[in-house]
Assembly symmetry: C2
């Protein structure tokens, strides 16, 4: 596949999808969202689905498609999303973000990777298997249009359409590999809990000369509260680690095998030293252990110079990354109870939970794991590393909770793909190898006893 003509024919469907600016965070794009969903329906029918439909939700529609091969066979459900992030800042793009451009062996466009490109890999693998007659099990597709805004409609959609979505395994291509030559499967994600804290002292800003020393300062108190929640990299809220499952020696061994250059890591983000929970490596800390970060803080006078004020209010946005088996609602309640228990009588403190989701773990002992492993080995010539990641994709644990089904995260992105940033791109080689890997997974999956 060398000529431009051949390339354009091969990527035709992806190019058409990219040309629709389906930006879910932009409410004025409602028509584009609908157009993009309809296009996916047509593409899926054309690729070999028996049926495909655009289904309404409280927000942007969901595209559902199905290919039934054998009622006695297993069913693979493919999840992806057709919405994209805004292209801002547009002036930093070297090509039109919504006009797919092939250059230097890469496809450049918003959604080239996340997630139009990666969903296209799943589509092509499916289409080729249908065309070659090699598909032995049933396949379903679900594509949502709200992933980039937190999938607000998907959980209730899943609950309403449990039967429709019934499956044995879920396949998602929306993550990345460690590197082009370091194939990896994401076997874990962290959960998340996020709160806003509001500390109120006096009913108005006071003169710090006239009141300072006699009236509690809400910023001082907020700092004490936050400082008291951690100690040398450990979270000190009572009970916080109760449900944390320790890493097994085998898991730690596997993590230790992941190539990692601490010097480069520190230089890249400009720090002299890393800092975290004693007894754990940097990779363990940022992917397998809980964390506690203040994401934002504000209060009092923040302008130029020195204004002496004892402020009335102080605020912080605080979040914890959680690990699998930690229930974010339990943690959230624990957090609120803790704050209540340490609030002194001289200030008022309110905590508002803003967001949350469970972590996720795909055990490498799962019967489908060897199929994924074999698929990556065939496409990339190397056994993939099993890697847990520190970010959160709450919908994956929702699938498990609502549908009772595990998800395999077969992501083909690379760090250089600049998702969510200007000049998003994806290597053509990764499309080819990704399609090969997904096809091989389908074949291997049939061989599981």
């Amino acid at each position: 596949m060398e000529s431009t003509k051949e390339l354009e024919a091969f990527y035709k469907d992806l190019f058409a999808l990219i040309r629709i600016p389906s930006i879910s965070s932009d409410k004025s794009r409602k028509d584009d969202m609908d157009r993009c969903a309809q296009l996916w329906r047509d593409i899926l029918l054309n690729a070999g689905a028996d049926k495909a439909e655009v289904m309404p939700t409280g927000g942007n529609p969901v595209v559902f498609a199905e290919k039934r091969v054998d009622n006695a066979a297993r069913t693979v459900l493919v999840y992806g999303h057709y919405d994209v992030m805004p292209p801002d800042p547009v002036e930093l793009w070297q090509t039109d973000p919504f006009e797919p451009t092939i250059k230097d062996g890469r496809l450049w466009a918003r959604g080239a990777d996340d997630d139009k490109g990666q969903s296209f890999i799943q589509l092509k693998a499916f289409q080729q298997l249908v065309e070659s007659g090699e598909l032995r099990h049933n396949v379903k597709f679900i594509l949502e249009g709200e992933e980039e805004i937190g999938s607000p409609s998907l959980e209730s959609f899943c609950r309403e359409h449990c039967d429709l979505l019934r499956c044995d395994i879920i396949l998602v291509s929306d993550t990345s590999m460690l590197d082009k030559d370091l194939p990896s499967l994401t076997t874990g994600l962290r959960g998340l809990a996020y709160w806003q804290i509001e500390v109120t002292g006096p009913n108005r800003d006071l003169h710090s000369g006239h009141f300072g020393g006699a009236v509690a300062n809400p910023i001082n108190e907020l700092c004490k509260l936050i400082a008291g929640m951690t100690d040398n990299g450990r979270i000190t809220i009572p009970g916080f680690y109760d449900d944390v499952v320790d890493l097994s020696p085998r898991e730690r061994e596997m993590i230790a095998q992941i190539p990692f250059d601490l010097g480069k890591y520190k230089a890249n983000i400009g720090i002299d030293e890393v800092h975290g929970e004693p007894g754990y490596s940097t990779i363990e800390r940022n992917s397998c252990r809980p964390s506690f970060d203040v994401c934002g803080i504000w209060g009092g006078y923040t302008g130029e110079g020195a204004k002496t004020v004892l402020p009335s209010k102080a605020y912080a946005k605080v979040s914890c990354r959680l690990v699998p088996n930690q229930d974010y609602e339990k943690i959230s309640k624990m957090f609120c109870d803790y704050v209540k228990s340490v609030t002194p009588d001289y200030v008022k403190i309110e905590v508002t939970p803003l967001h949350g989701g469970e972590g996720y773990l795909f055990p490498i002992t799962h019967p489908a794991y060897p199929a994924a492993e074999a698929a990556f080995k065939k496409a990339f010539g190397k056994e993939p590393l099993a890697v847990r990641r520190g970010g959160s994709i709450p919908i994956i644990s929702t699938f498990e909770k609502v549908l009772g089904v595990k998800t395999i995260l077969m992501g083909f992105g690379l760090e250089s793909n600049a998702i969510h940033s200007p000049n998003e791109n994806m290597q053509l080689e990764m499309f080819e190898k990704g399609i090969e890997a997904v096809k091989e997974f389908h074949k291997q999956y049939d061989l599981i006893g």
Copy 2:
């Protein structure tokens, strides 16, 4: 003095001063500052000064005037300021802030109290003594035009004109009494030290999922730093209390005599409980003991909702009120050294001193104190209470340092005067009693052995 005509004749000079919007923080008001200084010169000459002149400084000019009565007699220097705060928010004023209005027994205008009104009290007392031939000692006036912006030019003016300003005592009317029926003399002020802290973690905002737990968060670290500086109302920076002079039993007795209603105090500012250094009363805490307040804090994401970010930077504006005998430069160095000593290797912390000044103490054993006491007793019918205040007027300690002279703070303001706020005002009764008190002070001062 009942008729409007009589009132207007009596307050003529003050009305003329108020009508010039001499707002020192507004650079476009330079002409008004000059006009106001020139008007003061003319008023002082007219009131009986032998000479009066407008003298240049690096900023707004200083007005100096002198009445020499007897070369062998003592000299009283009166300090005041002709600049005012901006009238903002203007829409909350019920009268034109720069058009003096007499209503309900009060004069309403910006500067009615602070400090055109109170300086006018000093002027009138001087004028009446000159006219009645009762002035037995020499009097000097110095009026500056930068008090509301921290008197940046006054220290060097004092150093350059030490001879001109030579005197035995300084009189300032720029503070307030406890209440209309509770005459009081301010015998102490707190000092101030003010810093900005900047904590830097990674060189850019990071994804809290990918890095959280492995990279120190600058807001978490800032909170720890600030929380570590106090413990249950005490400042824990090593050496901080070394130069603090304990209150004597006699001083504490006098403070205990100041009428104070804790219930009203709490209700007024809307708090359930006060909070401060153990072993001290609220009045002691907010006037005679050091304090530590974060005046402002900011960093990370402060918009709507939940953005998960591990920010690059966090900032705070932090201040200490100091007590007499604490050297603010020593404290400032101690603070910076302390921060340096506790900065971990995984973040960078910079401290910038922004502002500072010494506290002030006027001992009631000073030979001039009985003169002030007698003056208040004559005007208000009651012995005044000696009261230390929690605010800071750095220029008072500068006078002591540069000129070697103590200042008597004979303030006639009331809390209801709303200085620095909309609807600033001063009771006509306080003008009359103030003038009486100042005249009596001059007379009593001559009687000191």
